[in-house]
Subunit: 249 residues, 2 copies
């Protein structure tokens, strides 16, 4: 039995997230449809992460076990023929049988895109959060740095998330502006349910002057979620990278 690690990207607008659900069209379902067409069997695919409805991915990984002998270099082109335009297979590599796309992930990087202009852009609709009020990227960046390090992020987990183990380590957390586009980049060993969107929402509260950088540290220390109560919309969020240890392949 071969084990294939497949990397895809997708525009999440039309999907109820990545993972297969009953009664809702998802990215995984579309991928499995294509797999069935190419390999003649509806193989199970195991994703690196859940993603919410409307969230995008510049890079998403899944593993798939198959007896099929298709060469890795031919699989992306073959699958893309049967995929809708908003999902694309980027690459495929064979990995050892025990490799698991989720368990072996060392961490992930997300970017959250904010189109910050008084007037909405037709071109960023659905692809960035259109935020019309003044945003000082430097202030946001200073606040974002408070997330760096190992903290208990229970205040940044949405209701319905697992609160069993809420300690995470953030290794990158920065905000930068390029023209009207403000991007928050955050990298960590793992993320709680809606954590990046709540972190971004909290940064936007800071931008609006309703929170100071020190308040973010206080929220992290106390775990008081009532103060980190804004969740930025899903359509600004992109899973940007998934990290693995080459040795695990």
């Amino acid at each position: 039995m071969r084990n294939l690690l497949v990397t895809i990207c997708y525009k999440g607008t039309a999907y109820h997230g990545y993972q297969v659900q009953k009664n809702a069209v998802t990215v995984a379902e579309k991928v499995q449809d294509a797999v069935e067409r190419v390999l003649g069997r509806r193989e199970d695919i195991v994703g690196c992460s859940r993603t919410d409805t409307g969230v995008h991915a510049n890079m998403y990984c899944f593993h798939m076990k198959t007896e099929h002998s298709i060469p890795c270099e031919r699989l992306p082109g073959a699958l893309n023929t049967f995929l809708p335009f908003d999902i694309a297979v980027l690459s495929c590599r064979e990995v050892r049988p025990a490799f698991h796309a989720r368990y072996h992930s060392l961490g992930k990087e997300y970017v959250y895109k904010i189109f910050n202009s008084r007037i909405r852009s037709p071109f960023w609709e659905g692809l960035a959060y259109q935020y019309p009020y003044a945003l000082d990227a430097e202030t946001l960046d200073r606040c974002a740095q408070r997330f760096l390090g190992t903290h208990d992020f229970r205040a940044f987990c949405a209701a319905g998330g697992d609160l069993h183990d809420t300690v995470r380590t953030i290794t990158e957390s920065r905000v930068a502006r390029e023209g009207d586009l403000v991007t928050y980049t955050v990298r960590g060993d793992g993320f709680l349910y809606k954590m990046v969107r709540i972190m971004t929402g909290t940064l936007l509260l800071a931008a609006a002057g309703r929170l100071a950088a020190d308040d973010i540290s206080v929220i992290l220390e106390t775990g008081d979620r009532s103060r980190a109560c804004r969740t930025a919309p899903a359509h600004g969020l992109y899973l940007n990278r998934v990290f693995y240890n080459e040795a695990d392949f």
Copy 2:
């Protein structure tokens, strides 16, 4: 009677071009719908240019005569409230009664976006021409320079265009790559029917080795359209700027 010069941008995917047509939804019709909601009258609007089905605009201008007293600074926000997400009013200024958005245009700049990667991007679908074959931007740029200057562009006019006066002056014509995105920028005093798309298609023939830079000069000199026979698809094209003389306002 006031004369207002209004600047808009739009994503052309859903529209049969700018200009009002019977039996087809167009940008101008949507703008007039919004004007009617805001001003209480369906004022005539006179655009700076026609655009083809699916073509986008980062900047498009029209003028509109009205007796309404709405301040210029309030009009964009008011119209945007009634416009669909893929059209946005950027600004408005009052101009002299004789000003005409088309006749007073000194020239225009277009950009043509090519997403040049072996694998299609879900995010550029409809917003760039997805071209999977090798493209050398420097070769294209050398070819593009042949368009500079004053030439008879009859070979670069699609059937149905007016062949009465086909001499145009191109003041900028360059190709640049940024990652997978190759952009052709062309500025001139005017453009024939589908001229930029045929110019781009010709550059792509050159990229494929089916035409040399010298051939472009020959086509311009002879007007032999049989050699400039490829029209790049509409959805990669953006009207980028419209130029006016400040004195004409």
